[in-house]
């Protein structure tokens, strides 16, 4: 029952919406935990029967060749885990906040929509869920964000919708193109994979999809919504935004763009891959200049997602697996970073780098875990980030070596923006008027959450095989769609 994965949180969200403040918090936790447990349990049927497109659940044909069609393969499973896990984490991270019922409901609605995106195998269903993610996130940023929330929420929605319109037109063109070729109306991803439209029409469709997915990643130069949205969102919103929502774009590349346009993806690889390299370098350089902790992590996401995309674009087994694993890694690492900044913000209501100093004395545990997550983010060997980035680059080195070399510079840069910031905030001298005096160390609940995430970072870093094994069948199924000259 894959439907349960999105229906249960949706029902839970509705239930939260109509209950009191306290009850809704409890309800949301129960529902999120249930979904997480269910997503773990789903790995059992998944490993038992993993077809090319995974465990399939298909509904009756709808109108115009549209079919309610869900499926679960390794790639989707890893992201389903990530979504349900981070939902639990973000709810737990905001447990103490005084939020209304709508807040808790929004996260369940967001989870429902995200599940739908990752499970959908029909492009129409995919698009509907894709857009549906915007509405809860719009409210999360706009209602519970910080000062600039009004503007950031609007910008977030408009940018993504702008991309989605391109994607919509691309989808319609693709479906109509397929009808012209085969005489069948279908929105099925499996049937459309390998369609391989070419020429001017194909290139335009390809570009429409790149814009549609690229806005979400976000691919340079469509990234400008991200720093605002991440910075203004509440901590839990940032966790979901950076942890899961950015992955939708890369997922779209893997699931739709590359299988449908293998030849164009190869021919235009220098362009799209070039943009991904710009993401890495430009994102890192921007991150160096930031004075705000959240903005810094936001720009570092731009850079990290560039690695994911590069791995995927290489369309080699190690690249796709590495890119997919890096999505998971980035979700965990950045989720942890945003969560810890959220803990800081809860105590002091400041986010500036210059607002802090010498936190090591006041909050040793926070210092320790933040450092841990920073190391994972940089890609220190032994941590999860290393495995993902290494495999992505190894894949790219086979496809376009030059690009891998350029991208590798990004790893150096990531140390160059992360370490000084970490040093200023946690080890440097406390500036005059700093908020450090208000900081207390992590309490038990926070420690458990951070332990969980940091433990996962180390676990994936030392022992990535179980995760790669989950991804392997889908990667093996997807890579043959690729084009080799």
């Amino acid at each position: 029952m894959l439907t349960a994965l999105w229906l249960v949180p949706a029902v839970g969200g509705a239930a939260c919406l109509f209950s009191s403040r306290k009850t809704s918090r409890l309800l949301s936790a129960v529902f999120a935990a249930a979904v997480f447990a269910y997503s773990l349990w789903l790995s059992v049927p998944y490993t038992a029967d993993a077809g090319v497109w995974g465990v399939v659940e298909s509904g009756p044909a709808w109108i115009f060749g549209i079919r309610y069609h869900l499926a679960l393969d390794g790639l989707a499973l890893s992201l389903v885990w990530l979504t349900s896990f981070l939902t639990v984490v973000s709810l737990a991270a905001s447990w103490r906040g005084s939020f209304s019922a709508g807040f808790w409901a929004s996260f369940l609605f967001l989870e429902a929509a995200l599940m739908g995106v990752f499970l959908a195998r029909d492009l129409f269903v995919f698009y509907v869920f894709w857009e549906a993610t915007l509405i809860p996130m719009f409210f999360i940023i706009g209602l519970w964000g910080s000062e600039g929330r009004r503007h950031a929420a609007m910008k977030f929605f408009l940018f993504t919708f702008f991309g989605s319109l391109f994607m919509l037109v691309g989808l319609l063109a693709l479906v109509t193109h397929e009808h012209a070729v085969s005489g069948v109306w279908t929105w099925d991803m499996g049937a459309l994979a390998g369609t391989n439209p070419q020429g001017l029409a194909g290139t335009l469709m390809f570009a429409a999809f790149v814009i549609g997915f690229g806005v979400k990643i976000p691919l340079f130069p469509m990234h400008t919504w991200l720093p605002d949205a991440h910075t203004e969102a509440p901590a839990a919103g940032s966790i979901m935004l950076a942890g899961v929502m950015l992955k939708m774009g890369v997922y779209g590349f893997i699931r739709v763009l590359l299988p449908v346009f293998p030849r164009l993806s190869w021919e235009l690889l220098p362009w799209v891959g070039g943009l991904a390299c710009v993401n890495i370098l430009y994102g890192s350089l921007c991150a160096m200049q930031q004075k705000d902790l959240k903005r810094l992590i936001a720009y570092s996401s731009v850079a990290h997602l560039g690695f994911c995309l590069l791995g995927v674009l290489s369309w080699t087994p190690e690249g796709v697996a590495g890119g997919s694993l890096q999505m998971l890694n980035h979700g965990i690492t950045t989720g942890a970073l945003f969560m810890m900044i959220g803990f800081l913000y809860e105590r002091t209501h400041r986010r500036g780098l210059a607002d802090y100093g010498e936190l090591v004395g006041r909050a040793p545990w926070l210092t320790f875990f933040f450092g841990w997550a920073i190391m994972a983010s940089i890609g220190l060997p032994g941590m999860n980030g290393f495995i993902g980035e290494f495999m992505s680059l190894a894949g790219m080195a086979r496809a376009l070596p030059f690009m891998a070399v350029v991208a590798a510079l990004g790893i150096v840069l990531s140390a160059a923006y992360s370490l000084p910031a970490y040093q200023t905030v946690f080890w440097g001298a406390s500036p005059a008027g700093s908020a450090s005096s208000k900081v207390t160390d992590l309490d038990a609940r926070e420690k458990v959450l951070v332990w969980l995430l940091c433990g996962l970072m180390l676990y994936i870093g030392l022992c990535p095989t179980p995760f790669l094994d989950v991804l392997a069948p889908s990667v093996a199924a997807l890579v043959p769609y690729g084009f080799t000259p």
């Binding site: 709808w62 609007m154 408009l158 319109l165």
Partner: protein, 456 residues
């Protein structure tokens, strides 16, 4: 004489005859002293519902030279009557005349749908429009100058009628008949252009839209809802009938006109400070998408069965637009800044309006999204990428004010305390409209088979 008898005994006109008798009952009940106006209105509403129900088994075919009903006419009557129903139910004055006028207007639209001749089209158009002019004078918006909009509407409508009559005359000269059949030659084309201009006037397509925002703004909100749904879809049907008459290239300008209108309407709606005027421009924008759909439909050969996307858009729009105007009525808001913080004052009403706005903006999974998708799909099928790009841009611009309203409602602090909203019919209607506007996006399979039967 026989023709006259044939006219009245035509089974395809039964819904219209029901409406006519409802109209008479309504007037008669209003004249009787001891019967209150609400009973008269109820009679009118019942006749609308019965007419809707009758459509289920109304026969199609020709009756005499004037009357002929095809799937298109049958389906569009649903839009006319469904669009009139919320307005009729939300009237609350102690007066039966507005209800009677409204029924007369619906009757006119119904006759327009069941006509197989230009003459009948014209009669239907006039019967629909004349009561509409009176309604504007009778039911002005609170605080609006009483007769200005009515007079403006009347003159704009009269101009459209003149154009249509002139076109009809030319058509008669060119083809020797008033039947709905193509007229040859340059004169036939000129006739078509004139009549088409009249239809575009009625729809409010740029550059024939100038009367529309004033009229919508100065009418009672529910009435504006009626104009934007029933009256507009009737004019749309007129346009479709004319598009089917012309040679294929005649419809080639429609997609661009429609796309341009949708962008223009969206851009102007961005700047509006009065809520009803904003919705009026939004209605211009939606009409543009519909005209774009007509263009795509015409480019595919004007097959009635393939008009399903247009019908679906019209159906969803009936609920979206009526619902939005009903919200204006229920909340009593008139200026746009007043909506700030409405979400914290009345969360349920604001939530319903929010759903309607999302649907108007075309965000999945609402009905407005599916409707827009189907129209866009039709344009892709005929390769009209230029107008499609413009219409997509209009959708993006439209998000600016639809989402802006949601933002103001929910993210801002209330600065202004609105009057306590009335309970009762209007609130129920708002619920119905919002729920339908949202659920039509995921439930159309209920309609898809019925729709096929209806339009074929």
């Amino acid at each position: 004489m026989r023709e006259l008898l044939g006219f009245f005994s035509a089974p395809m006109l039964w819904p219209q005859l029901t409406l006519a008798s409802g109209l008479l009952c309504c007037l008669a009940a209003g004249m009787a002293r001891e019967v209150s106006a609400s009973v008269a209105r109820l009679l009118g509403a019942v006749s609308l519902v019965v007419a809707l129900w009758m459509l289920m088994f109304t026969a199609r075919g020709e009756a005499g030279p004037l009357v002929g009903l095809d799937g298109l006419g049958l389906a569009w009557q649903i839009l006319f009557y469904a669009g009139g129903l919320p307005v009729l139910l939300s009237l609350d004055e102690d007066d039966e005349v507005p209800a009677a006028l409204l029924l007369a207007s619906c009757l006119g639209a119904g006759l327009l749908a069941a006509s197989s001749s230009l003459l009948m089209l014209f009669i239907g158009l006039e019967l629909m429009s004349l009561p509409a002019y009176l309604l504007v004078a009778r039911l002005p918006a609170p605080g609006a100058p009483p007769h200005e909009a009515a007079v403006k509407y009347f003159f704009a409508g009269a101009l459209a009628s003149c154009l249509f009559l002139l076109g009809m005359a030319l058509h008669y000269v060119a083809s020797g008949s008033l039947a709905l059949s193509p007229a040859p030659g340059a004169m036939g084309l000129a006739a078509l252009a004139l009549m088409g201009a009249a239809a575009l006037f009625k729809i409010g397509v740029v550059p024939f839209h100038f009367w529309l925002p004033d009229v919508y703004e100065s009418s009672a909100p529910a009435l504006a809802g009626f104009f934007s749904t029933s009256v507009k879809t009737a004019a749309l049907l007129l346009l479709m009938r004319l598009a089917a008459l012309g040679p294929a290239p005649a419809g080639a300008c429609l997609p661009w006109l429609g796309a341009g209108t949708s962008l223009y309407g969206a851009l102007l709606a961005l700047r509006q400070t009065r809520l009803q005027r904003l919705l009026a421009y939004s209605s211009v924008s939606h009409a543009g998408i519909l005209v774009l759909g007509v263009g795509a439909w015409a480019a595919q050969g004007c097959d009635p069965a393939s008009a399903a996307p247009l019908f679906f858009y019209g159906l969803v729009y009936v609920f979206m637009s009526n619902g939005a105007f009903l919200f204006v009525r229920l909340s009593g808001l008139s200026r746009r800044p007043e909506i700030a913080g409405y979400g914290s004052l009345r969360p349920v009403h604001a939530g319903l309006f929010g759903v309607l706005l999302l649907s108007l903006a075309g965000i999945p999974p609402t009905g407005g999204f599916l409707a827009k998708l189907l129209i866009f799909w039709e344009t892709v099928k005929v390769g009209l990428y230029g107008p499609l790009a413009v219409a997509a841009l209009a959708t993006l611009v439209g998000l600016g004010y639809y989402l802006g309203l949601i933002r103001d409602m929910f993210f801002d602090e209330p600065k202004w305390r609105p009057a306590e909203p009335e309970k009762g019919a209007v609130e129920v209607l708002l619920w119905v409209c919002a729920v339908l506007a949202a659920s039509l996006g995921i439930l159309p399979w209920i309609f898809s088979s019925a729709l096929g039967r209806l339009l074929s």
